[in-house]
């Protein structure tokens, strides 16, 4: 059992939902990312999704596109990101999961990537442009290392596909709340309730919902429905607004605490 499974087991016992935050590694700097991971844990985040920035992030909206471009230009790559994971791991207990595009990891070498990630203290990976049918190699390698492969389910996924996604996913299933790219939205689609229920009927694995969620009210509603809530672009926006300011971490922490409260129901 790895950190992700332990987390969901513990939360289930406490009748709580997971709060997951995405940040782009290397944005605004690698050093800031390391500190942000520590701050996020302190602010009530249960799991951190660490984006390895790619030049062509076709599942991402403008906020994460911009952050990715900035991070790459400052030298964020797999090697440098593994270094900060290793260093952050000395201070945090929460599970760390990578989110990145397939070309980066396949170019680095799947075996090498999974091995080094485990060693550094990461727990799994989400690859938005890798559907389960293309993931055999990654799944086989990850299984041996007990590294979680987390697949995405979408509103357009058929029952047949959802079953396969459930079988192939380790740790949790990432339900994409809407048809679209990442980025904060004012409204979430109506069909989300029915779709999450449909998925929960198919799988016993935890279902976490992401894409578009930016406000405590939205997060609270999703938390009633699913096993976890994922917030990304909204946090990146707070970082973006406060780059270079002394209270960057304080601002992020305050925003995240608001969401944590809504999700954990305190």
């Amino acid at each position: 059992m790895n950190r992700i499974d332990r987390l969901f087991k513990k939360l289930k016992k406490e009748r709580k939902k997971a709060f997951i935050v995405y940040i782009t590694a290397g944005y605004p700097t690698l050093r800031a990312t390391e500190r942000l991971i520590l701050e996020l844990e302190k602010s009530g985040v249960d799991l951190v999704e660490l984006g390895i920035p790619f030049s062509d992030p076709l599942a991402d909206g403008p906020t994460i596109q911009k952050a990715s471009e900035a991070a790459i230009s400052k030298g964020a790559n797999i090697k440098s990101i593994l270094r900060i994971v290793r260093s952050a791991r000395k201070h945090v207990k929460l599970p760390l999961v990578f989110m990145t595009y397939y070309n980066l990891v396949s170019h680095y070498g799947l075996k090498k990537f999974v091995g080094e990630s485990m060693k550094a203290g990461a727990d799994g990976i989400i690859v938005p442009d890798l559907p389960p049918e293309e993931a055999k190699e990654l799944i086989d390698i990850s299984k041996k290392e007990n590294f979680a492969t987390i697949f995405l389910a979408a509103p357009t996924s058929t029952t047949h596909r959802l079953k396969n996604i459930s079988v192939k996913s380790k740790g949790f299933i990432y339900y994409v709340s809407l048809t679209g790219v990442t980025g904060a939205r004012d409204r979430l689609p109506q069909d989300i309730v029915g779709n999450v229920r449909r998925l929960k009927k198919i799988t016993k694995k935890p279902v976490c919902v992401g894409f578009g969620i930016s406000r405590p009210g939205q997060a609270r509603r999703i938390a009633h429905l699913a096993d976890g809530v994922i917030v990304g672009s909204a946090v990146i926006k707070i970082i973006e607004k406060n780059i270079g300011k002394k209270d960057l971490y304080k601002k992020v922490s305050r925003f995240v605490r608001g969401l944590a409260k809504a999700i954990h129901g305190e």
Partner: protein, 406 residues
């Protein structure tokens, strides 16, 4: 339900396999949101390609609307000037809208109609595919949005205006290299968002399965016509087929029907930009490494970290860091040879055809023309070359004017 498409392919071709692979290349590397749409498209496509009614409809529009068959023209004066092999031009520049792109957009529009999609979107580099998509959208009555990099909007202003005249919206893309690669990213993002009512008309033999297969099938009309035309005029198959390669649709369209004719040599001409060692080129098959971009595994221009490089070419249509998976396969099994021609030499090819044949070519096939001007003189006079003249050059006049002072 999606595993029912394992029946033999219409033209008796064995590739791609049922997973969309040409050897190790191809596949479907896209967000889950699109997977069902791709499955639907695949089912619909396979049904259409076996459906006599669909095929005769497609033929009808190719003939009556696009003006096919295009001539296979014997370039007598060019042949004489070069003093070697006999050179034939497959005149895709004479197809409606001025390039081969219309073959594919007609096929996809007919499919989109069958799938009851109301809206078409497309990416475009040189603007030819954008124009061809806007054209069929106007003719069949779809709403239409075209994504185009701001760099390309600048250098292909004429085509931008044409698309607008045809009633399409041209959406400028200002991210990354501001060219075809980024326009494709944006088109995919749009498709992820509007997949339920929108068909994405990809313009080349790239992207996730079934796109490389579908675009090949629709573009194969080029090679099928060329084959029967050359058999009629020369009573034998050609020795060389030569075409430019960006994503690779006009070249695959010409090559594929000759795949089993082992004596016919294929040559794909990529863009060497400012030179292969300048880092400013688009010679993906020559300089790239295997990678995944825009939904398929193929050769890719990328840096040591796996980030995609920015391509460069004087011709917007070749300015792309990826290439179709079937070309990667042809390279791997050595069925085709690939080489590259620089911006400067492409301009020489551009002038050569203008001055010796009275045909102003697009900058994309001008790369291939230059190569032919080097190859033909080395060959015996009884050898035959077919060159795919994929488009006409009107769209490029502004760029060429900057380089060639008359």
């Amino acid at each position: 339900m999606q595993k029912k498409h394992n029946k033999p392919r219409p033209y008796g071709r064995h590739l791609p396999d049922r997973y969309g692979y040409f050897g190790e290349f191809g596949g479907k590397f896209v967000p889950e949101t699109l997977m069902h749409a791709l499955e639907e498209l695949e089912v619909e496509l396979n049904r259409a390609l076996r459906d006599k009614k669909f095929l005769s409809q497609f033929d009808y529009y190719l003939q009556e609307y696009a003006g096919r068959p295009t001539p296979l023209y014997f370039a007598g004066r060019l042949t004489e000037k070069l003093g070697g092999a006999r050179i034939y031009l497959k005149r895709e520049d004479l197809a409606h809208t001025g390039a081969h792109k219309i073959n594919n957009t007609l096929g996809q529009a007919l499919l989109a109609k069958k799938m009851k999609k109301a809206r078409l979107i497309a990416e475009t580099g040189a603007g030819q595919h954008g124009v061809a998509t806007a054209t069929v959208a106007a003719m069949f009555g779809f709403t239409c949005d075209i994504y185009m990099g701001t760099e390309d909007i600048k250098r292909q202003a004429l085509n931008v205006y044409r698309m607008k005249l045809l009633g399409a919206r041209v959406i400028p893309v200002d991210s990354g290299s501001r060219t075809l690669k980024d326009a494709t990213n944006e088109a995919i993002r749009d498709w992820v968002t509007n997949v339920r009512n929108t068909h994405y008309v990809l313009g080349s033999v790239v992207g996730p399965h079934p796109y490389p297969f579908m675009v090949r099938e629709f573009q194969s009309v080029i090679g099928k016509e060329a084959k029967s035309q050359i058999l009629k005029s020369e009573k034998r198959l050609p020795d060389f087929l030569i075409a430019c390669v960006g994503g690779g649709s006009n070249s695959i369209g010409l090559f594929h029907p000759f795949f089993k004719d082992k004596k016919v040599k294929f040559v794909g001409v990529e863009a060497a930009g400012r030179g292969l060692h300048s880092n400013k080129h688009a010679a993906t098959l020559i300089e790239g490494e295997i990678g995944v971009l825009h939904g398929s595994k193929s050769y890719l221009l990328q840096n040591k970290n796996g980030q995609v490089n920015i391509a460069h070419s004087i011709s917007a249509g070749l300015d792309y860091p990826g290439v179709g998976p079937e070309h990667s396969y042809y390279k791997k099994i050595k069925r085709a040879r690939y080489l590259a021609v620089t911006d400067r030499d492409a301009l020489r090819g551009f002038r050569l055809l203008s001055e010796y044949e009275g045909i102003i070519p697009a900058l994309e096939p001008a790369h291939a023309i230059y190569y032919v001007s080097k190859l033909a003189p080395k060959l015996k006079k009884n050898k035959i070359i077919i060159l795919c003249l994929s488009g006409r050059g009107d769209k490029d006049i502004d760029i060429v004017r900057e380089h060639i002072k008359l």
